[in-house]
Every structure is written in C-alpha cells, then in structure tokens.
C-alpha cells in the first residue's frame, strides 16, 4: 500500500502559560491509500484537533506532516487552500451545508470555486454523486428542507466532488439515528472500495467504528492503539 500521509511527533498546545492545554503530545500516525479508519478516544482527547491538523485548517505547534509527498507545515494559506480543494474532503457534524443553496449547488461547490463557475460537467458529476447517495429526488432541494441524514449524505457527496485522496469526517453520524447512521456508513464504505478514497472517521460509536477496517485510538495526546 502506498503511504498517503504521515504525521510525526506532532504537538498541539492551545493557549499559553497557565491556560495552556496540551492536547497532542508527540503523536505520530500514518495513513495509506484506500484506507478506511475510525478515530476513537474519549471526549477531549484531541480527535477533532487531529482532524483539523490533517485537514490543513490548523498548524501543529511542532512536528512534521507530509501528504502526497508534500510538506504540509511549510505551505502558505493560498497553497494550502488549493491543496485542500484538490486532495481533501470534509464532512463535519454540524454546519455542514450552505443553507441558501440547493443540494446540487452544495455538492459542486468545491469544483465551482476552483473553476470560477458552475460547469455542466460539474453538474453531471454532482447529480451522479447525489443519486449514488440515494438523493436523486432531492437534487434541487433547498438544503434547509432536508432531514439530518439527507444533509449528511449531501455533505459526503460534496466531500467526494473533486475526487480527493482523503476524506476527513468528524462525527458524521453524531446526530443521526442508527438507521441513517448505518446508511451513511454503507455509502462511505462503498465509495472507499470503488474509488480507493481514504476515510478517517472520528466517532464515539463502537458499531460505527467496527464498520471500519482499522481503528485508531487517541489518548493522552498520542495514538494508543
């Protein structure tokens, strides 16, 4: 298996002095292409922090991070934004979609923002992704009118839009009922098989974690299992 990314000896401390919270303390982690991994650990253990660093939305206090052979620490804001757009997809727990836009408009955002307009090719891929998510009848729906499970499936479709190598999902099923949660996980598993996209999914749910081939547990600022 090819190495997709590698974190080495990463520290992350929030705040300074008395108020300093040392969340990551020398964490190292390697993810390969086409992996499907769950990220586990007690609340406050630093799962979201780790995903944010992996997503290049935040830099670690120290340590190294390479993805696709590129140094992710040195990059400037524009470089990292461009890199994220091409190589990393996100699914968050809340605030996932742009509320004033339809499902399709949300899905094709990552392509449209790069190309400066919404092309027909992008719309075709967007429709295709939405139907794979079982949302063919919700393509032009305002996202405000979608159910929670539908919203998360739209978010997954959007994360896949630019065919990224890595999708980071922070508790994507956290506020879904178990049936919707299983449905979303099935879709993720299917995409992972078919498109060899690497998924890293943080969760508190053992059942969700067991649907992944690999489980990564964080505790005390390092990977413990």
């Amino acid at each position: 298996m090819t190495v997709l990314l590698e974190l080495r000896d990463v520290f992350k401390t929030y705040g300074t002095g008395e108020a300093a919270t040392r969340v990551l303390r020398g964490l190292s982690l390697q993810l390969d292409g086409a992996e499907m991994a769950a990220l586990l650990g007690p609340s406050g253990s630093g799962k979201s922090t780790l995903l944010t660093i992996l997503g290049t939305l935040m830099k670690p206090t120290s340590g190294s991070y390479t993805m696709l052979g590129q140094d992710m620490i040195a990059g400037g804001d524009n470089e990292l934004t461009e890199f994220r757009n091409r190589h990393i997809g996100f699914v968050f727990q809340f605030h996932n979609l742009l509320p004033d836009f339809t499902a399709l408009e949300n899905v094709i955002f990552p392509t449209a923002v790069r190309e400066g307009r919404e092309t027909n090719a992008a719309r075709m891929r967007g429709r295709d992704l939405l139907s794979r998510m079982g949302l063919s009848d919700r393509i032009n729906f305002p996202t405000a009118n979608l159910s929670g499970g539908q919203k998360q499936r739209v978010a997954v479709a959007r994360a896949l839009m630019n065919r990224p190598e890595l999708v980071l999902a922070d508790e994507p099923t956290g506020n879904l009922d178990s049936a919707s949660a299983i449905q979303v996980m099935d879709l993720i598993a299917q995409i992972n098989r078919e498109e060899e996209t690497t998924f890293l999914i943080s969760t508190h749910d053992e059942k969700i974690a067991n649907l992944c081939r690999r489980q990564i547990v964080v505790g005390d600022g390092v990977v413990t299992g």
Binding site: D77, F94, R117
Partner: protein, 401 residues
C-alpha cells in the same frame, strides 16, 4: 468572478426583507444627494439669472483718453483738455471687431452700443435717463427686452424710443405720444414712444431709455464707431477666459462680469460648499449603513464562510463575495434613489419658469450619474472592512467542531 457574483446575489436574495431595507436606506441617501444637487444647482442658476442674466457678460468700453500731462517750467503739472475730446472716446473699428467676436465659439450675441446720459422732457416734467443706442434687431440680445415688453413693440427705428414702465408712468406717457430727449452734451431729438417694458428692476424700469444706434449717434455726436460693445456668452462661467481671448484677439479692454462681482461669487461658493457638505453627509450615511449591515451579515454567516474556506475557497474569493454584495446594494440603491429623485423633481417648474416663492429646483442638475457612481464606490469601500473580516474568519472556530 462569475461564481462569487452568484453567491453574492444568492446571499442578497436569501434575505429579501433585509436587503430591501438596506437598498431603501441607500436610496434615501441618494435621493437626498440628488435633491440637494438640484436645489443648489437650481438656486445658483436662479440667483445668477436674476443678477447676471440680464447684463452683459463681457463689456468692452471705449477707453477715455487720458488727458495729456504738461509740465510747466517751474515743475507744476498742468492737465490739458479740449472740450471737443470729451466725447471722443469711441471704438472706431466696430465693423471689423463685431464679426470677429461673433465668430468666437461660446459667444451668443454681440451688441455694439452708443450710451450716454440725457434728459427726457414731456411738458413741464423732466427726468434724467441713461440712454442706450442699440442696433435695430439686437434690442433683446443682452437685456431680454422683448421678454419684458408690456405694451407696444420692441423694434427700434429712427425717431422711436422704448421706455420702462416706471419712467413712462412718471412722464404720464402712453404709446404713440412724443417726447423730447436731450443729451448731456447738447444734442436733442423728438422721439415717439413705441414700447414700454417692465423688468421688475427699478433701476432699469425707471431710468433707462432705448433708442436706435443711429438716433444715439446724432444725439451724442458720435459720427463713427460706438462707445461700448456688450457681449453675451452661452455660458456665463466662461466669461473670464473669454474676456482674455477677446483681449488677445482685438487688443481691446474686454472686462468680464466677474470683475467686481466678488460678493456674488462668495455667496454662490458658500452655497455650493453647503451643498457639498450635505451631500458628503448623505454619502457617509450610505457608507456607514452598508458597512454595518454587511458586518452583521459577515458575523451571521461565519459558519458558512468557514465551510467555504475548508472546501477550498481562498481569502480573495470571500473578499470578492462580500465586496460584490456591497457593490450590488450600492447599484440597486443608487438607481432606485436616482429614479425616485428624478420623479420627485418632475413636478417642479423648469429652469426657464422659476417663480419667486417656489424652490428653484433644477431637474437637469440632479447629478444622477455622479450620485450613482459615488454610491457604488462608497458601498464598495464600505464593504471592504466586512469583507476583510469575512476573509479572516478561522474555519476551525467558525465551524465550531
């Protein structure tokens, strides 16, 4: 950036009531701007037409020859004058100069005149008058005599005189009656009253007599040439420059109306300054309104901005989305305000028909294009601060995982 424009438009249409309110606020500012422009412009026009409209914009008067100075052997200065030279100050080459000046672009009319003081006598009543001899056909080119006629005919001919209402009443004259005009240097003429005018200006209505150039020529013993040339321009604001040009062209002492009109200019300037002041405030109100509304919108949309940034939208893109919103609001508010301003100015009388007692609004001086342009620029400037705030939104805290 077509896509940023789409997102900006969507943001504005997503909250129609708020956008409409914001556009209305901008429109009110623009409305005030236009109303002030029309009022200040109209007032200036009104004041100028009342004070300068009926006078010559550039006057060329014959230079009274300075008396020759003689020095007596013991050093006393003697002034040598001859009686015959008193009236000798004339512009002799009128036939060449008038067509030359008339040919200049921006010159509306030229009136060669012979002027002087005289006495009007009818029966036992005598009145002092200032006599103006003008070429028949040019009676109305400087002072709009034909517009002020209340009786009779403006056309001057040999043996005819046109007087103001006050003067005619004072001498108890009516059209067709005769009177005697005696010039200060002795010439006399028997004239028939052919027309009566009323300008509303007592100095003109009670003390001016208009006769034909040839009548004035005999009356004032000016065998050739004229004593002054009056010039009317298309735009009275060009008087200074035109006077210089005429001087250069003819070598004559052309004097613009602005010489000695310092107070009027100061008053007009002060008025214009007041206008700028109020218009600036209207613009500042627009800028503050747009800036605060967009800042609020930036705050409300923080999570979305975070999402967009995470999905690969650069800072520049976010800036563009918010600046475009500002520009769109400015454009819509500007156009709405300009249209409302125009409609509100329609009922006011046109500049030719200003009446005392009404606001002299000039619909043609609304500065509509300027108002819209400044508003769009102002709204764009106003959106820079919110746009920068939006671009600095940290995706991590905004998404709030």
């Amino acid at each position: 950036m077509l896509y940023a424009l789409k997102i900006a438009t969507r943001y504005l249409t997503a909250n129609k009531a708020q956008t409409a309110l914001l556009v209305a606020g901008v429109a009110v500012g623009v409305f005030i701007f236009i109303f002030m422009s029309a009022l200040i412009g109209g007032l200036a026009e009104f004041i100028l037409s009342r004070t300068v409209g009926d006078i010559s914009h550039i006057t060329i008067a014959a230079e009274a020859d300075d008396p020759a100075l003689l020095f007596s052997p013991d050093g006393q200065v003697l002034i040598a004058t001859e009686r015959s030279r008193i009236r000798a100050a004339t512009l002799t080459d009128v036939a060449t100069w008038v067509p030359m000046i008339e040919a200049l672009p921006g010159v509306r009319a030229v009136s060669p005149q012979i002027t002087g003081a005289g006495f009007l006598t009818r029966g036992a009543q005598t009145d002092q008058v200032s006599v103006t001899g003008v070429e028949p056909g040019r009676e109305s080119v400087i002072l709009n005599l034909s517009g002020y006629m209340v009786e009779g005919d403006v056309r001057l001919g040999s043996g005819l005189v046109v007087l103001g209402r006050d003067l005619a009443d004072d001498l108890n004259l009516s059209i067709g009656q005769t009177l005697r005009l005696q010039s200060a240097n002795g010439g006399t003429a028997a004239l028939t009253l052919s027309g009566i005018f009323r300008t509303g200006n007592g100095g003109i209505d009670g003390a001016r007599a208009f006769v034909s150039l040839s009548t004035a020529r005999t009356l004032f013993a000016v065998p050739q040439g004229v004593t002054q040339i009056e010039i009317k321009l298309d735009d009275l604001n060009t008087a200074d420059a035109m006077a210089l040009r005429i001087r250069a062209l003819t070598g004559l002492d052309a004097v613009p109306w602005t010489d000695g009109a310092g107070q009027l200019r100061e008053a007009l300037n002060a008025q214009a300054q007041t206008g700028y002041f109020l218009k600036t405030f209207a613009l500042i109100t627009i800028v503050i309104g747009v800036a605060s509304a967009l800042l609020l919108s930036t705050y409300r949309r923080r999570p979305e901005i975070g999402i967009m940034r995470a999905m690969g939208a650069g800072r520049g893109f976010v800036v563009f989305v918010f600046v475009t919103q500002g520009a769109l609001i400015g454009m819509m508010g500007g156009i709405t305000g300009a249209a409302l301003g125009y409609l509100a100015l329609l009922p006011f009388p046109s500049r030719e028909a200003f009446r005392s007692g009404t606001l002299p609004m000039d619909i043609t001086q609304g500065s509509y294009g300027l108002a819209i342009t400044l508003t769009v620029i102002g709204a764009i400037l106003a959106s820079i601060l919110p746009a920068r705030a939006a671009a600095r939104v940290d995706p991590v805290t905004a998404i709030g995982q």
